[in-house]
């Protein structure tokens, strides 16, 4: 019991590397450990190596270096069909020549389960995704959303402890996607399954997951719960990638443990929270979330740092108002406000004073 984190890990990547061609590392030094029952999302731009990680876990690709452990056992030498991992593919991969019920029965059949037990489980799985009446249909006769449910049911019907999903909602329209996000999280939590979910959609990642691993260029940039990821991005890539973000470029002139002073390129000095900057003279990207910027003079916190801004554009979005400002040389500085009766409406061309709290202003690597 010296290292509880490792003992409890259900899925563990230990210094895993992967190269397809022997020249480029697609996955670089991946370390990840997941406890049982966790819903973990791999989020990252296309080509960042998410699918590759999933395929290594499922056994369709082998790691070039490092070890993958499942429940403490190294699985590098276990063939895919013996890993007992449920998988949902992006295009569902429902077998077109089998009916829905036959698709669901397939994993049970190959496990040599008796017919009556099989039928019972298939029925239960279909009911679970509210598709009880569709057992006799062919996949081609179902809509995208229905196929998605069947694919989910098929991955769960043999009661795997670990389920992998590779952009399972990518092909659905927005409304259906939101509905399915909810369904998938509900099922995963109800059944207590450990889930590795891959997506490039940050909203999906934030709303569904217990923890999110942000991938870029074959590396995990940050691994954290959604709120931490959004509010405390560890570097400028994560800050840019997750949510909307305003960036101001500058140079560190003073640095302490929980505050630093940044000299912006426009000449102004601002206070910020040092996140991954350490030396005076370093270039930095200062990140501020739009909703943390206040431009209503009456609500401005006395501790807030203020700065002049010129209104460039007003964007009406119904529930919120968005304004594009020019701040310290950045013409794409966004602020937002709720469409409330007392909301301040800015007019383009106007010069105003905006402000934010120093702890909301994070000095990140450039």
């Amino acid at each position: 019991m010296t290292d509880t984190a490792v003992d409890e890990a259900f899925v563990q990547f230990d210094r895993v590397q992967k190269s397809y061609d022997g020249e480029i590392l697609v996955v670089k030094d991946l370390n990840l450990s997941m406890p049982k029952g966790e819903f973990l999302t791999m989020l990252g731009p296309s080509g960042s190596g998410k699918t590759t990680c999933l395929m290594m876990l499922a056994g369709f690709e082998t790691a070039t270096h490092g070890e993958i452990l499942l429940d403490g056992q190294p699985i590098n030498n276990i063939p895919p069909h013996k890993r007992g991992i449920g998988m949902v593919f992006q295009n569902y991969a429902l077998f077109p020549h089998m009916t829905v019920a036959e698709n669901l029965a397939f994993p049970l059949e190959v496990r040599k389960m008796g017919k009556s037990e099989r039928d019972q489980k298939v029925k239960r799985a279909l009911d679970m995704v509210q598709m009880g009446d569709f057992g006799g249909r062919r996949p081609a006769q179902l809509s995208g959303g229905q196929q998605q449910r069947i694919a989910l049911a098929r991955a769960l019907v043999f009661e795997p402890e670990l389920v992998l999903m590779d952009e399972p909602l990518g092909a659905l329209d927005k409304q259906l996607r939101e509905h399915m996000q909810f369904e998938i999280t509900r099922l995963a939590h109800d059944l207590g399954i450990t889930t590795v979910y891959v997506t490039h959609d940050q909203t999906e990642a934030l709303t569904m997951s217990d923890r999110v691993a942000v991938f870029e260029d074959g590396r995990i940039q940050q691994l954290a719960p959604p709120d931490e990821l959004y509010e405390e991005p560890a570097n400028s890539f994560v800050a840019q990638f997750i949510g909307e973000n305003n960036t101001l470029l500058g140079e560190i002139v003073e640095v302490g443990t929980d505050s630093c002073v940044v000299k912006l390129d426009s000449g102004e000095l601002i206070d910020a929270l040092p996140v991954n900057v350490s030396n005076v003279g370093d270039r930095t990207k200062v990140s501020i979330r739009p909703e943390r910027v206040e431009f209503n003079k009456d609500r401005l916190n006395p501790n807030a740092h203020t700065i002049k801004a010129e209104v460039k554009e007003f964007i009406y979005m119904g529930d919120i108002f968005r304004f594009r400002l020019s701040v310290a040389g950045n013409d794409d500085f966004i602020v937002k406000t709720r469409n409330a009766p007392d909301a301040v409406k800015l007019t383009p061309g106007e010069t105003i004073e905006i402000g934010w709290l120093p702890q909301d202003c994070r000095a990140l690597d450039a």
Binding site: F89, N91, A93, H97
Partner: protein, 424 residues
């Protein structure tokens, strides 16, 4: 006003009905499309439709008797071929008059050849008698009955006249009967004598060997198509070139190469003897028989099996097999239950292609088939170029065409032609 407009047909701007003006504008488009494909249509018509129709026609056409012996045919109508007696003088006189015209026009030998298909000896009988009949006078030398029998005793044989009478119809089923080892006789359709029955056997052999060849092509082609569809791009391209290589070599050269390989002093036998697997005295006979035909044709037709299979397999995403494995299927189960069923349309397309090509194959069986390994098409070629019995050749060809169409229909009923894909 508005009522009438709604009740009646919709009108276009110029007052004609919408249907009419739509039809007019579509017609123009259709005409243009037709013009574009006109050269192809004309070519297909001249090189495909016309020959086939003329072949179908030749297999029943039989006007030569009535054209060459018009009076004899009329005179023979009053003669009973079952009576066992020779026809009257009237028939002989008519025959001499007909022959005088025919000998002048030199058409009597062609008639002889035609009748020789039905009764051997007719050809020389007509040729020899023709010369002597031409010296007779149609009026002064009467009566002719005995004179003709003097010229050639065949004219004194009831059977000669019975054959002429039996075949004196403008359209005959005789060629088709011959094609299935039967013949047209005065007593109706009857089986050919045992010694002349070879065609039905040949049809059977053609079908059977084509099936065997198709089967071998499936067995050999499937793994290659699978590799082509699943190897990395570069190796797949190389393999594809190897598959297509035979297309760049003349068919004749490939077939002759098999002769070199398979003959008793050939490469395969030499190797086997050298390895000590076969005794020098007992070299394998693997050419000029069915084995030779099957080996060479399987090799030659293999690309036609591989290509459709490949193009179907290419459209099967690898995720299906992965999904099957993730669901717990072994490699074999994943292949057999998930991959294979989806590749069946490719097997279907390849099989139809290979089978239909095989059933009408000619050059290869001719070169490596010997007597035991020839196909019906070799017989057709023989009748076209050697025996010149085009009617029989046409009947055989028609039956072959019919057989292919029937098999195609049966295939459609059993497998469904929608299940045949050439990719996409």
């Amino acid at each position: 006003m508005s009522d009438t407009a709604q009740d009646g047909p919709m009108l276009a701007a110029d007052g004609t009905t919408l249907k009419q003006s739509l039809a007019r504008s579509l017609r123009r488009e259709k005409m243009r499309a037709l013009l574009l494909i006109a050269p192809l249509l004309i070519f297909i018509f001249l090189s495909f439709v016309v020959p086939i129709v003329s072949m179908l026609f030749r297999s029943i056409e039989n006007s030569i008797l009535q054209d060459t012996l018009p009076e004899t045919v009329v005179a023979l109508e009053n003669w009973d071929d079952q009576s066992g007696e020779l026809p009257d003088e009237e028939v002989y006189a008519a025959f001499v008059r007909d022959m005088l015209v025919a000998v002048d026009a030199k058409t009597h030998t062609r008639l002889g050849t035609r009748l020789n298909y039905e009764e051997t000896g007719m050809s020389s009988m007509f040729r020899r008698s023709g010369r002597q009949i031409s010296r007779l006078d149609p009026v002064e030398d009467a009566p002719f009955k005995d004179k003709l029998i003097d010229i050639h005793d065949g004219w004194g044989d009831v059977n000669t006249w019975a054959v002429i009478k039996t075949h004196a119809v403008p359209y005959t089923n005789g060629y088709f009967l011959n094609a299935v080892d039967m013949q047209r006789t005065p007593e109706g359709a009857q089986a050919q004598p045992e010694s002349k029955q070879i065609l039905v056997k040949l049809f059977g052999r053609t079908l059977y060997m084509s099936l065997v060849i198709t089967g071998f092509c499936i067995l050999l082609g499937y793994p290659i198509a699978f590799l082509l569809a699943n190897l990395p791009m570069r190796s797949a391209n190389l393999l594809m070139i190897l598959v297509l290589l035979p297309f760049w070599t003349s068919l004749l050269v490939r077939t002759s190469a098999w002769k070199v390989m398979l003959q008793q002093q050939g490469v395969i036998n030499d190797t086997l003897v050298w390895l000590g697997l076969v005794d020098d005295a007992a070299r394998l006979i693997i050419i000029n028989n069915q084995i030779g035909t099957i080996v060479a044709m399987t090799h030659i037709l293999l690309p036609f099996m591989i290509l459709p299979m490949y193009s179907v397999m290419q459209t099967i995403p690898p995720t299906y097999v992965r999904a099957a494995k993730s669901l717990g299927a072994t490699n074999w189960t994943a292949f057999w239950r998930v991959y294979f069923p989806q590749s069946i349309p490719g097997i279907g397309a390849g099989s139809i292609l290979v089978f239909i090509l095989a059933i009408g194959y000619y050059i290869t069986p001719e070169i490596v088939g010997g007597t035991q390994g020839v196909f019906i098409s070799n017989r057709i070629a023989y009748h076209i170029s050697s025996s010149l019995n085009w009617g029989l050749a046409a009947a055989l060809g028609t039956i072959l065409l019919g057989a292919v169409l029937i098999l195609y229909w049966a295939y459609d009923r059993i497998v469904g032609i929608d299940n045949v894909k050439l990719g996409g």
